[in-house]
Every structure is written in C-alpha cells, then in structure tokens.
Symmetry: C2
Subunit: 130 residues, 2 copies
C-alpha cells in the first residue's frame, strides 16, 4: 500500500501553502518549488478547490490560499479528495459472492476505520512544525 503521486503532489502543494498561510501563491510558484509539472498540478488543484480545502482567485494577481487554518485541515481529507475514499471495503456487497458470510467481511471495516482515524488525526499544521 502506498500513496499515488496525486496524493503526494497534493500534500506537497498543501504544506507549501500552509507555510505561507494566509498569504496566497500561484500554481506556477508551487509547481516550481515542489518540482511538479505545472499542468498536472493545475488539475489536482481543481479537486482541492472543489473539495473546499483551498480557495482560488482568478486573473492577474490571482492564486491559491488555504480555505481554512492548517490546524483545521486533516491530511486524510486531502488524500481522499485526490485518491478517493481511504481503505474501501471491496469485499462487501456485490463484490462478495458469499453475501455477508464472507469470512473476512469485517477485515476492511476494522482496518479502514483505524487508518482513516490516523489520517484524520494528523493535521496539515502538524506536518510543517519544525
């Protein structure tokens, strides 16, 4: 199990923005500093904006800022916006032929809850502490 670069890039961009919060920055600046393809980052920022963890300003002098204080942005939220739901339980429901009698049906549930909790307990602010 690992993170996609989507989540990696997204988190990098978010920690970058957290470090200048509440100032704004352009995608170009972030992409350069974090060594990410600007075009690709543009798309990723779209997901983060739709998820309301960042706010954007269009036009000249435009850019991005965090939508709230880094203390109130859980890392799990960022990851889910980019990578989809954390630790989904695929064996449940139609995927599980034995319909809820699958011997492992509770596995993903227990596991998912714990991982989710871990990732939601870590806040963006924690990641930029020195």
């Amino acid at each position: 199990m690992k993170f996609s670069t989507k989540a990696e890039y997204g988190l990098k961009a978010m920690t970058n923005l957290a470090q200048c919060y509440p100032e704004q920055k352009t995608i170009g600046e972030i992409a350069k500093e974090e060594n990410i393809s600007q075009k690709y980052l543009e798309r990723l920022m779209g997901f983060l904006r739709d998820g309301e963890v960042v706010q954007s300003a269009k036009g000249k002098q435009g850019g991005y800022t965090l939508a709230r204080d880094p203390k109130k942005i859980p890392v799990g939220e960022i990851i889910e916006l980019l990578d989809g739901e954390i630790a989904p339980m695929r064996c449940v429901g139609k995927f599980c032929a034995s319909e809820h009698k699958c011997p492992s049906s509770m596995v993903w549930n227990k596991l998912g809850v714990q991982i989710k909790k871990t990732l939601y307990d870590i806040k963006l602010s924690t990641l930029i502490m020195k």
Copy 2:
C-alpha cells in the same frame, strides 16, 4: 489511497487460515471459500511463504498453515509482503530535485511512521474476533 486486491486477497487468505489455525488448508479450499482465482492466489501465497508468515507442505495431503500464532502476525507485515513498503517517502533523495531542502521532505516520514504503526499494531487475531 486504497488497498490493491493483492493485499485484499492476501489478507482474506490469512484470516481464513487464522480461523483454522493450527490446522492446514489447501490453496484450492481457500480460493473457493474466499472467491479468489486459484491460480492468482497461488502466486500470492508464494510471497507470503517467502516472507515466512505461512508454511507450506508439498504433495498430496499438502497445504498451508500460518507460520506462527495469529496473535503474532501484524497486518502490516502481510500488506508489505504483497504491496511493498507502506507509505514510502518518494520525495526523499534522488526523486527530490531540491535535495533535502524540499519543503515537504518530512511529510511522508511522519505520515509513514504513523500508518505503519497502526497497521503493525493490528494483529491477524484481532481481525477474526467476533
């Protein structure tokens, strides 16, 4: 972030074996009960055997058993054997152009440690408790 079916199938097989521990079972039985392609599972079990979390007996009357008590098998170990290292820090070293000055260089470290801890704290035995 999610689990691959590799990890899912592997964990299913392991919890299945945990439920009959210390008895053994054939790959065929496990594959049928868990609704997994037998051929594919054969390959996955190879990784688990190499990682010494299961033991195999060849030939007629052969099969698989857990290599140790389910209380002593962390879920994280199983997942790493199948999916590779958990939460690797891709921005470190050669992947990071700014060489250790990358503003997010500590992100994956902190995050990886926590996730790893969570997954290593959950034991196989926990997953089969009713």
